[in-house]
């Protein structure tokens, strides 16, 4: 069993703003193995995007800073690298695709320019060779007539096509790890499905590792092997995808799954969705104890989880939870408690 390709240990990224310090990422640890997909799921403000950006050092450095933690990629700690060294890693070893392909593609350059530029930045090939490779890539991501379309500007392509181009650019240097931040959120449902299928196929063919960041549980179910659920800057549950959906443990995960309107639910029209009351806590001043306590149905006095932050513990092999009240422990009464 080889070491994981990427290992993040106790990462903390803080934003230093006029109003105070925002603990956007507060002690996140995760790892990805070669050839596997890790899904990071959370709502806005959970810190999932900042985590991804911190891994490759793309956080805006004046307000934000990685205050502690390590990001070990293939033996090297990325947090200790200089900007120059990080630039070498980015694109070549770790690639990233973003949510809105219109703003991440330069609208004034043709596809060809952008692809070729990326290829030649990281590999030393003559222009003609780079162009040939670019057309090959466009074909691989499913763009019809690649030799014609390569001359187009981004605005002539549909959203799905642009995202495919982004993927092509990301793949151009055969990265070991692909980080996809909400890759399908801006796309239509039918296109979304295609793009996800594409990502999955490519990952298998190129034996890449992938981190998919999303708020959509459906996307997680589609592509992730393992899932980390984030809430208020921390990981609250980490398990294989199958285990997470079959037996969610953390109250937040349960509530999140319960709040999803179901496509195939027969009673849904009359039934109510399980709404989670309240709002995520402010990260300027995180609550002292469990961050989900204010909205949790099970937070209670006896164990003081509202005062003492629970640790991330391994409930079952491969299934970690940060809670005093995971589902499986709720099922049986605690020893000593009245029946």
């Amino acid at each position: 069993m080889s070491a994981p390709l990427l290992e993040v240990r106790d990462l903390r990224t803080h934003f230093f703003t006029r109003e105070g310090v925002v603990n956007a990422v507060d002690g996140v640890s995760l790892s990805v193995d070669r050839g596997r997909t890790l899904g990071v799921v959370g709502e806005s403000g959970s810190g999932k995007s900042v985590t991804a950006l911190s891994i490759i050092g793309l956080i805006p450095k004046p307000p934000a800073r990685i205050v502690s933690g390590e990001v070990i990629f293939d033996g090297r700690d990325l947090t200790t690298l200089s900007e120059r060294q990080l630039e070498d890693v980015r694109g070549e070893r770790i690639a990233m695709i973003f949510q809105d392909p219109m703003t991440s593609l330069n609208p004034t350059l043709t596809i060809e320019t952008q692809l070729v530029e990326t290829i030649r930045r990281h590999t030393d090939v003559p222009r003609r060779e780079a162009r040939r490779r670019a057309i090959e890539l466009l074909d691989e991501v499913g763009i019809p007539n690649p030799d014609a379309r390569i001359k187009d500007y981004p605005h002539r392509l549909s959203g799905g096509m642009r995202q495919r181009v982004m993927i092509a650019i990301a793949l151009s240097c055969e990265p070991d790890l692909l980080i996809a931040d909400e890759p399908t959120t801006a796309l239509d449902v039918t296109v979304q499905a295609q793009v996800l299928d594409l990502l999955d196929d490519l990952r298998r063919e190129h034996d890449m590792a992938m981190i998919v960041i999303t708020h959509d549980m459906g996307v997680i179910a589609e592509v992730a092997d393992e899932v980390a659920v984030m809430y208020a800057g921390q990981i609250v549950e980490h398990a294989s995808a199958a285990a997470l959906f079959a037996r969610p443990e953390h109250p937040y995960t349960e509530a999140l799954l319960g709040a999803l309107p179901q496509l195939e639910d027969h009673a849904s029209r009359s039934g109510r969705l399980t709404a989670i009351p309240g709002r995520p806590p402010s990260l300027l001043d995180p609550p002292p104890g469990c961050r989900f306590a204010a909205r949790c149905l099970y937070a209670g006095e006896p164990d003081g989880c509202a005062e003492h932050p629970p640790e991330l513990r391994e409930l079952r092999p491969g299934h970690l939870v940060r809670s005093e009240h995971p589902a499986s422990e709720r099922a049986r009464p605690r020893e000593g408690a009245p029946a």
């Binding site: 009351p277 309240g278 709002r279 402010s282 204010a294 909205r295 949790c296 937070a299 509202a306």
Partner: protein
């Protein structure tokens, strides 16, 4: 319990009162979404903080206020009569008794500059106000109505754009006779409102696309209300910046017109007319022309930095979400 509108004859189907909340009662200590605001600052306060961070803008703001205070207050407390002629002190350079020196008639320049400032700044703001009024009206109508009206108005504006304002100013003054505060205001504003109109039109067109404007229509608001209550207040930021951008041009315009003798004429003071006074004596007593010129430059510099600071402070793109 508040009384239902029905009792006041409002004629609306009353909302039935409920004793308990609709949602499953949350466990103790759980905050419902109907909770407190997440951010307590106001739009203006954010803008203020951003403005303060710009050192040049802050200095310029203070300097500007100091200038205005000086112009307003000094003539009242000054021991010198700005109109009194005293040839024994004529054309003296700056001294302790006369910080700015005296002019050819022995009048204290420190006092006359303040007095002149009232006129110059007064004309400046008045003309700017007129420019804004015309520009906002024109631009708002064009932007709001769109279509043919907008097209027509803009083509007319394009044609007008090419006209330099100076000849127009001179013509107005020639017709109505110069030297009067209000004719100056008219002369300076008559051909200077084009840029403002264009800016306002652009703003209105952008704002029109916002959902809250559609919401106002959906609710049944008449166009006047939409314009006055929703569109124009949201152009306030742009207008405030426009004030400080137009001001220097107008001040300079007044100075120039007075300098060439068409504007404020002696013995009344405006900085331009003072410059005209000093022009003839510039070889022997340069301070007479330097003083008003520096005053004008000072004001223009301040206005520019303030406008710059305001633009950064009010720019919605840099607003934190």
């Amino acid at each position: 319990m508040s009384s239902t509108p029905q009792e006041h004859g409002v004629g609306l189907a009353p909302l039935r009162h409920r004793k308990e909340r609709r949602y499953p009662t949350p466990p103790d200590g759980v905050q419902t979404d109907a909770g407190a605001p997440i951010r307590a600052s106001s739009l203006w306060r954010d803008a203020w903080y951003r403005y303060i961070r710009n050192r040049a803008a802050v200095i310029a703001g203070v300097a500007f206020l100091a200038l205005v205070a000086y112009c307003l207050i000094w003539p009242i407390v000054s021991p010198y009569d700005p109109y009194a002629v005293d040839f024994s002190q004529a054309s003296d350079g700056p001294s302790l008794a006369h910080p700015f020196g005296t002019d050819q008639f022995g009048r204290d320049l420190f006092t006359r500059t303040a007095l002149g400032g009232r006129v110059s700044i007064g004309i400046g703001f008045a003309a700017t106000f007129v420019i804004l009024t015309i520009g906002v009206t024109y631009g708002a109508i064009a932007g709001f109505l769109g279509g043919f009206v907008d097209n027509g108005l803009m083509r007319v504006l394009d044609a007008l754009y090419g006209l330099p304002y100076l000849p127009f100013a001179i013509i107005v003054l020639a017709i109505f006779g110069g030297g009067n505060f209000w004719t100056m205001v008219v002369a300076l504003s008559i051909a200077s409102w084009f840029t403002t109109a264009r800016i306002v039109r652009g703003q209105i067109i952008t704002l029109k696309e916002n959902d809250y404007v559609r919401a106002a229509h959906a609710v049944g608001a008449r166009w006047l209300r939409v314009l006055g209550r929703h569109l124009l207040p949201n152009t306030l930021g742009v207008l405030v910046i426009a004030v400080f951008l137009e001001l220097p041009g107008v001040i300079l315009g007044e100075a120039f017109l007075s300098f060439i003798g068409l504007g404020i004429s002696p013995p009344d003071a405006s900085w331009g007319s003072m410059a005209q006074d000093g022009y003839r004596a510039y070889r022997t007593a340069p301070h007479i022309i330097i003083v008003p010129s520096v005053a004008i430059a000072y004001l223009i510099l301040c206005a520019n930095f303030i406008a710059d600071g305001l633009r950064d402070a009010l720019d919605p793109r840099t607003r934190e979400t």
